[in-house]
Amino acid sequence: MTVAGDVVLQVEDLHKSFGSTEVLKGIDLSVRRGERIAILGSSGSGKSTLLRCLNVLEMPTRGRLILDGEAVGKPAAGGATRYREAELNRLRARVGMVFQQFNLFPHMTALENVMEGPLSVLGRSRAEARRTAQRHLERVGLGGKADAHPARLSGGQQQRVAIARALAMDPEVLLFDEPTSSLDPELVGEVLGVINDLSEDGRTMLLVTHELGFAYHFATRILFLHEGRILEDGPPEQVLKSPREERTRRFLDRFTAFRF
């Protein structure tokens, strides 16, 4: 059933408005299993909104979301879709998310943070949840911090715990929304390193980032979002080195304006 290369996530004509402002203006996207997609775009272009629609933290205003061949929600009048809470919870359990602000649970230790999903969503036993949580913490290099509360961890460590928490759900698709943007520069590397190491699992990942160098090495595919539309979609080599669109070139130029 889980063949590498088949379509795991499909988005058709996705629209999202907040009040009268349309933020996503028709996104069509087909994500194959094992793809690592970096999403670029200037501030306000809708990158976060797109990611948040993919695990339905935001309800799309219009369009279809298909996970593993199953459409999410039931069609309703006017092209809208009706979603049932239980169905959305099931979907979110399969689509993990790592936030810019980490959002660790401050009243729990690192280990308890990672155990929480398996324990209360997947219904694992305490012993089993603990075992896998410890393994995931070790994977992100924090096996020794299991009993520390988030307040005692550096930003980089917190984000690694957040990654372990998402991994513990064994999600089919893992979303990262600017995972290093609120980190001190010297902590960015350790988090990117951990994300890069996940590549070997062949897990499908979508990552919003402003780290072009990382996107180049990590991603198998790059999307450039502009004003709620996908303007460019291709392999890193092509999008970053010879973009088709003038907009993309101008965006990229801003990152390479200062060199030494």
């Binding site: 919870n89 209360s120 759900m169």
Partner: protein
């Protein structure tokens, strides 16, 4: 000419006063229980995101927050029999008045505590696939509870002091007992000084205890 204090007049009637204090405590504890129960429901209604639920709850809380408590004591004691032919004994009437009014305040405490938890916490829970009830119980409430503690204690103290209004319904709590002693001894100064002292000792010890518990909770949270 100096006033000659005579606290023996109070000491001789200590049993009446202490019995009254006992009734005050009983009414307080029951009042808090009723207030917390109704307040919890009101807070849930206000946070439900459904107008049909949140508006009535809002109207209820605003009404009771902005009207004097004594009115409600009288209403439940004198009004209910007239309007509905339902007669409540003083304790029940006082409890009803205290319960509904403090519910309005407790509801605000609960709501404030829950709303003070960052949206990121809700999102992190939802992103794991947690349902609303579980998310509330496992993620939001444990964090909200810590922030509710201080205002909760504050409101509870207000409630304890408000129980004295039950004296107006001839309920034998501390103030009513004090009045009884005063009519027998003509020593209002001593009697009410002792009453103030009693309330102070009870509430001050309770606040020390609450502070100690809070500090302990904080330490546990930041382990």
């Amino acid at each position: 000419m100096g006033y000659v204090w005579d606290f023996f007049a109070v000491a001789r009637n200590a049993d009446i006063l202490l019995a009254g204090l006992g009734q005050t405590m009983l009414l307080s504890v029951c009042g808090i229980a009723v207030g917390v129960a109704i307040g919890g429901v009101l807070a849930a209604m206000r946070l439900s995101g459904r107008r049909t639920l949140s508006w009535p709850a809002l109207a209820f809380t605003e009404f009771y927050r902005n009207t004097p408590p004594l009115v409600h004591f009288f209403w439940f004691f004198y009004g209910l029999p007239m309007a509905f032919g339902l007669t409540l004994p003083p304790f029940a009437a006082a409890l009803a008045a205290l319960g509904v009014q403090s519910a309005a305040f407790f509801a605000e405490v609960f709501r404030g505590g829950i709303l003070s938890v960052e949206t990121g916490q809700w999102e992190a829970g939802r992103a794991l696939g947690m349902g609303r009830a579980r998310l509330m119980r496992r993620i939001i409430l444990p964090q909200a509870a810590r922030r509710m503690a201080a205002p909760f204690v504050e409101r509870s103290f207000e409630l304890v002091k408000t129980t004295t209004l039950a004296a107006a319904l001839a309920f034998h709590e501390t103030i009513y007992s004090a009045m009884v002693i005063v009519t027998q001894t003509y020593r209002p100064l001593e009697v009410y000084t002792v009453v103030a002292g009693l309330f102070f000792v009870v509430l001050f010890s309770a606040s020390q205890l609450a502070e100690w518990l809070e500090a302990r909770g904080r330490r546990a949270g930041a382990r």
